[in-house]
Each structure stands twice: as C-alpha cells, then as structure tokens.
C-alpha cells in the first residue's frame, strides 16, 4: 500500500517539477524564475524523501538538509543580487 502511494506521489511531484520548469523557462521577469527555482528545490527535497521510502534505505536522508540549505542560500543571494546589484557588499547594514 505504501509503495503504491509513493509511486503516485513521485508521479505528482514529477508533474509539478515539469510545470515549474515551464515557469523557469517562460517566466516574464527574473523574480518569477527565482520563485520557480526555489519551489523546484523544495520539491526535490520531497522527492528525495519519497525515493528513500521507495528504496527502503535511510542513507539519503542527510541530502534533505543539504538541499534545504542550498536552496535557501541560493534564493537569498539571488534576491540580494536583484535588489542591490551585488551579492557580497561591504556595508554592514542590510
């Protein structure tokens, strides 16, 4: 029963990642693309969890933390770049 549900869920996540890739390619502005990339990162975390249920191993569960951190840092640096034009700036006050 769990395997069937996991297959259905992986299919749904794959469809949602395809839809988000359409938004990444088509998106009218740069923040649209960043929003879609952030959502793709979050969906990848869910797919990793589902694959680790499907393969019946807990070896992949650290990848969840790693992808979460990378997705958040990527979105934060992209937004700072869009707002100020730089990623690392010298003034301390943001």
């Amino acid at each position: 029963m769990i395997l069937t549900a996991v297959k259905i869920a992986i299919f749904c996540m794959a469809i949602s990642i395809l839809v988000l890739i359409y938004r990444v390619i088509k998106g009218p502005s740069v923040p649209d693309r960043v929003v879609a990339l952030d959502a793709i990162g979050v969906n990848l975390i869910a797919i990793i969890g589902l694959v680790s249920i499907f393969l019946n191993t807990s070896a992949f569960l650290e990848v969840i933390l790693l992808l979460g951190i990378l997705s958040f840092i990527g979105t934060a640096s992209f937004s700072k770049y869009l707002e100020k034009g730089v990623v690392f700036d010298r003034d301390r006050d943001l």
Partner: protein, 119 residues
C-alpha cells in the same frame, strides 16, 4: 488491525496530502497572473506539502527501524523556518526592482513611499 497497519494508513494519508498540495502549488505558479501571487502559491502551499511528505517519511522510518530519526525532524523545522523567509526576500526584491503588479490588483500600500525603506 495491527499497529503497523494503522501507521501505514497514516503514512499514506500524509504522503498523498503532500503530493496533492505540491501539485496545487505548481499549478498555482503556472496559472496566477503576477510574481507576487505566484510567490504566495509557491512559498506556502509547497512548504506545507513538503512538510507533510517529510512527516510521512519520518513516520515510515520510525515504524521500520524503531528509532527517532533526528535529521528528518531537523529538515522539517528548517524548511518551516526558511521557506517563508526566502519568499519574503524574493518578493521584496521583486518590488524594489520594479516588477509590475497585475492590472487586477486594487491596492498598493507601498506606492507613496517610493522605494522601500532599506535600513
């Protein structure tokens, strides 16, 4: 009905709810008119869906192995904290870099202030 079967039903419900919410979030991202509403869909519905799926994963490994897998809990808490923050950051960057709202929106609180206060 044993305890394992009850846990299996709960895991399946969590996973299916999460998959449905992620699908809804993706279609919201593709259907909504401008970047702010798309950000609203992507940073709330997708977060709840992924948290639900990770709760299912946590319960699965708790039933299978019988020990508390702390890294999944840490992942749930981390996503719960950081996803609204990144949504807010990218929405603020979109407003400050001059992305237009859609024509259907009726109110703009920040119109008189010009550029948002950067302190």
């Amino acid at each position: 009905m044993t305890v394992t079967e009850i846990f299996n039903i709960i895991i399946v419900i969590f996973i299916l709810i999460g998959a449905f919410l992620s699908l809804v979030a993706a279609f919201g991202v593709i259907r909504l008119p401008d970047v702010y509403t798309r950000n609203h869909a992507a940073s709330k519905a997708a977060t709840l869906g992924v948290m639900s799926i990770l709760a299912g994963v946590f319960l699965f490994f708790y039933v299978k192995d019988g020990y508390f897998n702390a890294s999944v809990i840490l992942g749930i808490v981390f996503i719960f904290v950081t996803s609204p923050v990144s949504g807010h950051l990218i929405s603020r960057a979109a407003y400050n870099s001059g992305v237009k709202m859609t024509d259907m929106s009726v109110h703009d609180d920040l119109k008189d202030k010009g550029k948002m206060q950067q302190k």
